[in-house]
């Protein structure tokens, strides 16, 4: 998969749309967030932040300790107590677009004190959070329930018009 292209493509990972909401920005953040890091294979997703704020009820559910609320996970609480926010709140501020970049791997290697070495990248963080909650809440969990696949994506998954013809392939090897 064109890694280089993807690198450039995800430069604008999280486009924070202008705050149009009635609620105050400082309190609840943006109403919607456009997620288009998977533009290679999927259409961008417009994430209804406001709605999810209502459902989650608690910023820490998704934003850990960064918003200044007490973190949900006890393990986090050991270091991050309440009222200890972070300068960056958006996912991509902490979750790297390229978690396994040479720089990130080097940082882990050269700093034995480093914590959060297994912190997921942005794509992983988003999916783990979204899907984790969606599974619990009975919300949609299929790939295309959230983002529609584009033509390139169909080609990648060999689906849609790129689907293999049933007669074309013959079963060979390992079938036993």
């Amino acid at each position: 998969m064109g890694g280089k292209k993807k690198l450039l493509g995800v430069a604008a990972v999280l486009v924070l749309t202008a705050p149009l909401a009635s609620r105050s920005w400082a309190e609840t953040g943006p109403d919607t967030v456009v997620l288009d890091s998977l533009a290679n294979h999927y259409e961008a997703v417009t994430f209804d932040h406001a709605m999810h704020v209502d459902v989650a009820g608690n910023c820490a559910t998704c934003h850990h300790h960064t918003t200044g609320e007490a973190p949900v996970d006890q393990n986090c609480g050991r270091c991050h107590s309440a009222a200890q926010g972070a300068s960056g709140i958006a996912c991509r501020d902490c979750h790297s677009v390229e978690p396994f970049s040479a720089a990130n791997l080097k940082a882990i290697d050269s700093n034995p004190q480093m914590y959060h070495t297994g912190k997921p990248g942005l794509k992983g963080a988003l999916h783990q959070k979204c899907l984790g909650c969606h599974q619990e809440m009975g919300a949609p969990t299929g790939c295309q329930d959230c983002h529609a696949r584009n033509d390139q994506g169909d080609a990648f998954f060999r689906a849609g018009k790129y689907a293999p013809k049933p007669t074309a392939s013959e079963s060979h090897g390992g079938g036993h």
Partner: protein, 417 residues
């Protein structure tokens, strides 16, 4: 040939015809018969009809294997990468061909000249067995034309199979050399025979070393699969020894079997020296085989004790194992012993058939039946079976053709020149 002999025809056994004229090579190939007589003889033999049927089905399948690939003839499974071609062709054929080095050792090294009448049959059985093991390998290898790669192109000297490849190749040339005398007598090249005689001891010692190692190495190949072969057929420290020592009685028993078949079906070609001595020789071979059998049985038990595999004996696999041990090892051992005690060559012959069956069962059990005992059982494709039968039939044809011509079962009558 029996019919012809009844009519007074004598097969070629010297360079000169009855009227004093030398035989030509063509005449020697036709056994001294006219082409018409020769063909009539072949047609008369019902066994040849069976061969024609095998070839009619088998050759198209064999050709198909090289056109459509292994996937067409085998079940081409990733869990069972080795099937009958190796299970039978390599792992069974090679121990059954251990007679070559056994007879070489007995006659040339230990000076037991009394085994001379059967030495050449032992050597030929060894040579042809190895040759056809290589043929089976060539059918099984994905890219047979790369057979020389481990020798010259890309060497993996730390692998057991590397050792097998080199040793089988070296040993094959060793065996060819050992049989040069028979060929040179038949062709009339006395110099070649003389040269081989001068190095025969070196060849024999080389034969022992090579045989010890590659017979053992065939067993050691399975030590790469500790969890896949059933523990009763697997023992990391003893596997090589089990394979080596069982090859000893396998080779000797096969020699008894082959000599018996010769006695039955190629009697016209055997001379008095061979036929008269055969019973005594059979019992001599039986003695050797029974010693190897008891050693094998004891080390097999030690292997089980060492690895702590007793509990498996109670399982279904254990019963299968005990069947193999009783029918393939203990019964031949008992029959051989009784046969030696009572000087009963017929019983020794029966025992030899049992032992050969037992060794085939053991090798197939190790390579195929109990392999992946935790997964599922694989039954070979009919085309795979057909190819095995075809190649083995060719082995018999070549075997028979050489026995009928060269001085293996009879002594060549040298003329004083």
């Amino acid at each position: 040939m029996k019919t012809l002999q009844a009519q007074g025809v004598k097969p070629v056994d010297s360079h000169l015809q009855a009227n004093g004229k030398p035989w030509s090579v063509k005449e020697k190939l036709l056994l001294g018969l006219t082409p018409k007589e020769y063909i009539a003889m072949q047609v008369r033999n019902p066994f040849n009809w069976l061969l024609w049927i095998i070839y009619a089905v088998g050759i198209p399948v064999l050709v198909g294997r090289f056109i459509f690939g292994l996937g067409w003839v085998t079940h081409s499974s990733y869990e069972y990468p080795w099937g009958l071609f190796l299970g039978w062709g390599l792992f069974t054929m090679v121990p059954l061909s251990a007679s070559g080095f056994m007879m070489g050792t007995t006659v040339e090294l230990f000076g037991r000249k009394d085994f001379k009448p059967i030495e050449r049959l032992g050597l030929l059985n060894g040579l042809l067995g190895y040759l056809f093991a290589v043929m089976f390998l060539q059918v099984d290898l994905g890219q047979p034309w790369r057979l020389i790669y481990p020798m010259f192109v890309s060497l993996g000297p730390a692998a057991v199979l590397f050792l097998v490849a080199w040793h089988v190749a070296t040993y094959l040339s060793c065996q060819v050399a050992e049989l040069v005398p028979a060929f040179s007598e038949w062709m009339g090249f006395p110099k070649a025979k003389k040269f081989i005689k001068s190095i025969v001891l070196g060849l024999t010692v080389a034969g022992i070393i090579l045989s010890t190692l590659h017979q053992g190495a065939l067993g050691a190949l399975f030590t790469y699969a500790p969890g896949k072969v059933h523990p009763l057929w697997y023992s990391s420290p003893f596997q090589w020894f089990h394979f080596f020592i069982s090859a000893v009685f396998a080779g000797l028993s096969m020699l008894i079997v082959v000599s018996t078949l010769c006695k039955w079906f190629l009697r016209w070609r055997c001379d008095d020296n061979f036929l008269k001595n055969l019973n005594t020789l059979t019992l001599g071979l039986a003695k050797g085989a029974s010693l190897a059998l008891i050693t094998y049985f004891v080390t097999k038990i030690i292997g089980i004790a060492h690895d702590g595999d007793w509990e498996y004996l109670a399982s279904g696999w254990g019963q299968w194992f005990m069947f193999e041990m009783v029918v393939g090892v203990l019964l031949p051992l008992v029959f051989y012993t009784v046969a030696i005690k009572n000087q009963n060559a017929s019983l020794a012959r029966f025992s030899a058939f049992l032992a050969v069956f037992g060794i085939a069962l053991n090798r197939l059990n190790t390579a195929l039946v109990t392999f992946n005992w935790n997964l599922y059982q694989e039954i070979p494709h009919w085309r795979e079976v057909m190819i095995v039968i075809t190649v083995y039939a060719t082995y018999i044809v070549v075997y028979r053709a050489i026995l009928a011509r060269m001085p293996i079962l009879y002594t060549w009558k040298e003329q004083k020149q």
